[in-house]
């Protein structure tokens, strides 16, 4: 088999024909402009897709793990129940490297133990097209080594002057590119431009962690009694935004919703979040994590410690979304650095 060349060059015009082509076959979800901000949303025409180098406020996880999804329909008169998997063939367009890394973690979570058929089916029918990015003040993926990807995408687009340098990550990606867009071999100038852009990007990171990623689980393990938790717990409003914007927070709640007929209903799964007050409340009203401080500590540990034994990976990809969306300015990189300092001092 002929080796797929590393880059193809895709002029701006050809991007449009690629998107239009995809729209004929798939539901296309990508970065659009919402109220003047970059956001993920469904794209209904090529000109709605706005590839952006800035991070989005919300992650793209909802397209694979929807905010609300029906798992089962039941009829109580007959005790019949039918599993439901609502999925369309879809393209996620414009994911940044951190998002693609997060997707890989979600894949492992939902395949672990009892595999989750809804997520996995949807994932199987999803094409991933990545796009490059520039960090803002909250991004710290570079410190976690999640600032670049070699896999987990079908195509990956790097912005250069009048178009894109495209990396092909799968046969499927290659076929789509061939079918819908005219590409050509990239010129030397474009490749040089890419190197310069990568260097600019490397220098643009302002948020950094002061320890190597592999040291973090141990540091967190020693930080249960840190004063940090109390301090950030005092200002946290428990709004749950950090959970909801996080591309790797996957907790959910399952409820049965019965219709007005009192005969038919649906079993529905919705997002849940460990920073919400009722998350660890159990029957009888007992709450395992009563205070906001305990709940925040739990969330941070889920990102940097608890899951690392099972999956041999951190569950933070450094996208900075939790810090960006936090109205009381709890910053995940700052908190981690504070714990790093406390441990270095001890």
């Amino acid at each position: 088999m002929e080796k797929i060349p590393k880059f193809k060059y895709l002029p701006d015009r050809a991007l449009n024909s690629l998107v239009n082509g995809l729209l004929r076959e798939y539901k296309v979800c990508g970065t659009i402009e919402k109220d003047g901000f970059p956001a993920f949303g469904e794209v209904s025409a090529a000109d709605e897709l706005k590839l952006t180098q800035s991070p989005t406020h919300l992650s793209a996880k909802g397209f694979l793990f929807p905010q609300r999804e029906v798992l089962l329909r039941f009829d109580m008169r007959t005790s019949a129940h039918v599993p439901v998997i609502e999925a369309e063939r879809q393209v996620l367009f414009g994911l940044h490297p951190c998002d693609i890394r997060a997707l890989a973690l979600m894949d492992r979570i939902f395949a672990h133990g009892v595999p989750d058929p809804n997520y996995l089916f949807r994932r199987e029918h999803t094409i991933v097209i990545g796009a490059d990015c520039m960090p803002d003040e909250y991004c710290f993926c570079e410190s976690l080594g999640t600032d670049d990807v070699d896999e987990g995408f079908d195509l990956f687009l790097h912005r250069t002057g009048g178009g894109y340098l495209v990396r092909v990550g799968s046969e499927r990606g290659s076929a789509l590119l061939e079918k819908y867009a005219r590409t050509r071999e990239p010129g030397k100038a474009a490749l040089k431009e890419l190197d310069a852009a990568n260097e600019r990007r490397r220098l643009a990171f302002r948020a950094k962690l002061d320890a190597a990623p592999e040291e973090l689980p141990a540091i967190y393990a020693k930080s249960d009694e840190s004063r940090v938790w109390e301090r950030i717990g005092a200002i946290c409003t428990g709004c749950g935004s950090c959970n909801n914007v996080c591309p790797t927070c996957y907790c959910f709640d399952v409820k049965d919703e019965v219709g007005a007929s009192l005969a038919e209903g649906e079993r529905v799964r919705t997002w849940d979040g460990c920073t919400l007050e009722d998350f660890a409340k159990v029957a009888g009203g007992h709450n395992f994590r009563k205070t906001r401080a305990e709940r925040l500590r739990h969330r941070f540990n889920r990102k940097f410690r608890y899951l690392s034994d099972t999956f041999d990976s951190l569950f933070c990809v450094g996208c900075g979304r939790c810090s960006r969306s936090c109205l009381v300015k709890i910053n995940i990189a700052d908190v981690t650095n504070e714990l790093i300092r406390e441990n270095a001092g001890a």
Binding site: G36, F37, H57, G238, C239, A260, L262, G273, L327
Partner: protein
């Protein structure tokens, strides 16, 4: 109520706009189904029949006149289950804005001195939620209530399940709706401390959370006050923002 009989349901309205009753009437698709499972025996806005024999009472409106206290106590005595229907009833609502002023001043300013002294229909006391007067079994929040919450409450009750009460802030609904944060857009919002369950509809349709559902169970008001100030509001603006749906303090005692 015999085992085979449908529960008898009554709707009552005190000081309010009657929008929450209207929201019930807006369940056009579900109404025919609902009526198979309950018998509505009192719903002045929609029907002529009246009965004093009922099991479940939905009460909308806040209490703001003495005769309403008496009427409400009668409802409580009769009903097995009392449900506060909507913000006015469950937290006092917008009506409580008048509690900022002495009641004599309120009456005089609107009806004039002579009427304020002696005309009976315009008697008024500080507005308050119904649980300032009677014990309440369940609360449906919102100005107006959410149709979805009303229906899921009713089905849970009819099936003998414990109805859910949302205790997460509006921010959760807002993120699930995929909205850009109001603060990010340069606005000011009460979402982080306000009880959700509304699908953050006010943000989705272009404004901000006004706080109509009242606070979550353990809100961090102080912290949110600081946030609002950090995003440019004066202390006075902040106080006013919280006051829109949070002035019921003066009317608590009965």
């Amino acid at each position: 109520m015999g085992p085979q009989e449908k529960p008898r349901v009554a709707f009552f309205s005190f000081t309010c706009c009657e929008g929450c009753q209207l929201m019930v009437l807006s369940c056009e698709k579900e109404l025919p189904d609902i009526l198979k499972h309950i018998k509505i025996v009192n719903f002045r806005e929609a029907m002529s029949e009246k009965s004093d024999d009922y099991d479940i009472a939905f009460v909308e409106g806040s209490i703001s006149r003495r005769d309403e206290i008496k009427k409400l106590k009668k409802v409580r005595k009769q009903a097995r289950v009392v449900v506060a229907l909507g913000t006015c009833s469950s937290t006092g609502g917008l009506n409580c804005l008048k509690n900022r002023y002495p009641m004599e001043e309120v009456k005089e300013a609107v009806y004039g001195k002579r009427a304020a002294l002696s005309y009976k229909p315009i008697d008024t006391i500080p507005a308050r939620p119904i649980d300032a007067v009677v014990e309440v079994d369940y609360y449906l929040h919102g100005c107006p209530i959410s149709k979805k919450e009303f229906l899921s409450f009713l089905t849970a009750l009819l099936m003998g399940k414990k109805p859910d009460t949302v205790n997460h802030p509006v921010c959760v609904d807002c993120k699930m709706a995929g909205n850009i944060c109001v603060f990010e857009k340069g606005g000011h919002c009460l979402g982080p401390v306000t009880r959700g369950g509304c699908d953050a509809i006010c943000v989705t349709y272009g404004t901000w959370c006004w706080g109509c559902r009242g606070p979550v169970d353990n809100p961090n008001i102080d912290s949110h006050r600081e946030t609002l100030e950090r995003y440019g509001l004066t202390a006075e603006d902040v106080a006013k923002k919280f006051a829109l749906y949070g002035e019921c303090g003066g009317g608590r005692k009965c």
